[in-house]
Symmetry: C2
Amino acid sequence: MRAIVIQAPHDIRVREVPDPTIQQPTDVVLRVLRSCVCGSDLWAYRGESARRPGQRIGHEFLGIVEEAGHEVNGFAPGDLVVVPFRWSDGTCAYCAEGLTTSCPQGGFWGSVGSDGGQGEAVRVPFADGTLVKLPSAAATDDRLLTALLALSDVLGTGHHAAVGAGVRPGSTVAVVGDGAVGLCGVMAAKRLGAGRIIALGRHSARTDIARTFGATDVVAERGDAALAAVRELTRGEGAHCVIEAVGTEQSMRTAIGVVRDGGAIGYVGVPHGSGTGLDLDAMFDRNITLRGGVAPVRAYIPELLPDVLDGTIDPSPVFDLTVGLDGVADGYKAMDERTALKVLIKP
Amino acid sequence: MRAIVIQAPHDIRVREVPDPTIQQPTDVVLRVLRSCVCGSDLWAYRGESARRPGQRIGHEFLGIVEEAGHEVNGFAPGDLVVVPFRWSDGTCAYCAEGLTTSCPQGGFWGSVGSDGGQGEAVRVPFADGTLVKLPSAAATDDRLLTALLALSDVLGTGHHAAVGAGVRPGSTVAVVGDGAVGLCGVMAAKRLGAGRIIALGRHSARTDIARTFGATDVVAERGDAALAAVRELTRGEGAHCVIEAVGTEQSMRTAIGVVRDGGAIGYVGVPHGSGTGLDLDAMFDRNITLRGGVAPVRAYIPELLPDVLDGTIDPSPVFDLTVGLDGVADGYKAMDERTALKVLIKP
């Protein structure tokens, strides 16, 4: 079979790799129908996160079960399933309480020794704990299948940020980050009943999507001007709920700058310097809460799936470029240069 | 009248100052019955927080109203009242929602131009918003009056930490810090129904109080050994709720080290390097929440006062040394050298 590997920074290749096989009785082998490139894949692409030469990559995908180990109870060949970006056993105390990302037997796709989602097929450990079944009819609905792919990461991650930020009916929410996660944060905030959603971003293609997803205001300014603009929109106070979906020092400073006293920052941007942007003195004086982290998307899928299936929410517009496996290297380049928002892969 | 001033680091003096007078119609003049020294006063004492020579100091006190401005509605001469460590107008949006520490008209006792609580009398701005009336009978109950003094800061601050840490009935709580706030955090966690309370501390005089206040376990180890001890007590997982009542880099590292994945740190230690101890990567991977800050104790007094009055909780044991104004300098020295836990002042 063919799969994507990262040979070195800025060197994404298609390679022939062995077909996945059942290794544990709790495994399934999955034929990938849709995969995509994540903003966090770019950290590896840019060499800011270390990878071994030839390591598999990709952690967002859905597909059809081809083969199931004899201890797999919930899935059979032919099932259409969506895969969270981290596998988990479904039986430990953390999984039971919905913190699947802390499952001691869990792991990330594309880590050393595991398959990545950008390829033709994947061995899925702990299939019963990890996978979520989708209606088989969705397999023939191209738009819906793309929307469902967002459940593997960005939609659940945006939802985690909105939950972390404490979004409730009527909340005022500011969203720092105009990538796919930030946009899904807008969608999740709207879904939770936010009364006002201020999207920070300068790229009209992205802020247009933000408005479609529920943003009521767009702030195109940067730095201090952005803080002033958000405060002007909020009686000088700032937003009670802030979604931080970038992970850099500047984005965290902006998040703290726009949050109202007593408010909360839901942080889901993978930290790349954002700790340095945490001004604890300011947070202390103003009683700012920081809540979030790596999103336990597996636990959120049962809540979010029905709304995607019935069209209440449609995250598919975050995918603005579609490639086959041979186009994945170009897809990374496009996302790195911000000419693409999020790249959909049809292997 | 006589009041305490800080002349320079390690130079605490009693000085004759003008008697306070009504300056605004919303002021009262208060005769101080009880005051005390706060752990945060030591930052000024040690020269780590800047003060002007001769600046007033002290922010925890209670006393008798001597005179009330003509716009004060809730208080009259002779009323016994407790004073939160920050005054607030009681009418703004922040006060209305209980975040009195963010009141734009609020301020700290002992800031430049305001009276400090360590002295014979104080001018109280925004008396209706700031003060809370106590039963006059308490004025003749020495033990109760001391317990009520804790409402001005340490009890409400410990409660804020417990709320920030998300303490609920049955919670497992770890408390980092064996000062008066940490001990009140133990008491507050017990009051909120915690099932297990692990106090970290090496001084048996303090950990004995912690046990009296509700600690079920004491960890005397430091550093990595302390983390291992807490994990051993919690099935290897850590405590779901952690109270951080110190504010240093080491204490924050300990707090993050002992918190369970998905748990929360209620931070109320005034930051003195604790930002450096915040490992955001670890917090992100483990979904750790950071929630707290300067405690809006004014908002908590109505909830806590009945329990102090009826003896359900008694924080008075945190005061282990009593001095008059002439003994205050010795009191600071004793707290600085940790021979006293918290110094009570009877002016």
